[in-house]
């Protein structure tokens, strides 16, 4: 009998607690609001201590400098992905796909020219600032000199160096294009 009473009282407790879900929710919200306010004011040392447990920068591991070889591998994989996309894209829109390094270099030179032309038009139409345009000019100059170096390496038969320099130029241009595209889409 005692056991059944205990069970009944426990059930009653549960029922009464569950009978007021709105009240529980309200209490939860009030508690949360007060902790947020305290944390904002910096008065509750417990919360400040609690916040210290969180990582200061969630992207810290991502932003940490990576070994050179790892960066180069990532750069190469990005360049290969871009090259494959370009090849498939060329076929889809009726362009002649590049079949050797010389032709891929030519397409990259065209890419540099295209970025410069687009930046000129954007600057003349006041969609790009002068400082941004200067930055575009600097990056495209870098890409052009890397492409020239790649062409020189290809001329003396150093295909490996030529490939690496082309990959570097392609990644420079891809980063610049991403930056320009993000400028107005945000």
């Amino acid at each position: 009998l005692q056991n059944s009473r205990r069970i009944n009282s426990h059930d009653h407790h549960l029922v009464t607690r569950r009978a007021n879900p709105d009240r529980d929710h309200l209490r939860y919200c009030q508690r949360n609001r007060s902790t947020r306010a305290d944390a904002g004011a910096g008065t509750d040392s417990r919360l400040v201590r609690g916040r210290r447990d969180l990582p200061a920068d969630p992207l810290a591991s991502y932003n940490r400098p990576k070994p050179w070889s790892q960066s180069m591998k990532r750069l190469q994989s990005i360049a290969i992905a871009i090259a494959i996309t370009c090849l498939l894209g060329c076929q889809a829109i009726g362009l002649t796909p590049a079949t050797n390094l010389d032709q891929r270099l030519a397409y990259s030179f065209g890419q540099v020219t295209a970025v410069r032309d687009a930046a000129t038009v954007a600057l003349q139409n006041h969609r790009l600032g002068a400082s941004e345009a200067k930055s575009v000019l600097a990056v495209t100059d870098n890409a052009r000199s890397v492409l020239d170096a790649s062409r020189d390496a290809l001329a003396v038969g150093d295909t490996k160096t030529a490939e690496a320099r082309l990959a570097l130029a392609v990644s420079l241009l891809a980063a610049l294009q991403t930056r320009l595209n993000a400028k107005e889409s945000t």
Binding site: G110, R116, L123
Partner: protein
């Protein structure tokens, strides 16, 4: 007005890719996989001209 730079870029890319594609086709038609020195000169001259235009536009804007 959004995405206008992206569109400019895309159109410019397509235009220049078309020119390079024509040069590659020309090389292939002449029985070679390599672009001729003359055509390379045209490619680099076009880039130099684009650079000069951008420089002038920057000078005019600033």
């Amino acid at each position: 007005m959004k995405l206008t730079i992206a569109l400019d870029l895309l159109l410019s890319m397509l235009s220049h890719a078309g020119e390079i594609s024509a040069l590659i086709q020309k090389a292939k038609a002449s029985g070679s996989d390599e672009i001729s020195e003359e055509d390379w000169q045209a490619i680099t001259d076009a880039d130099d001209a684009a650079r000069t235009k951008l420089e002038l536009a920057i000078a005019a804007a600033s």
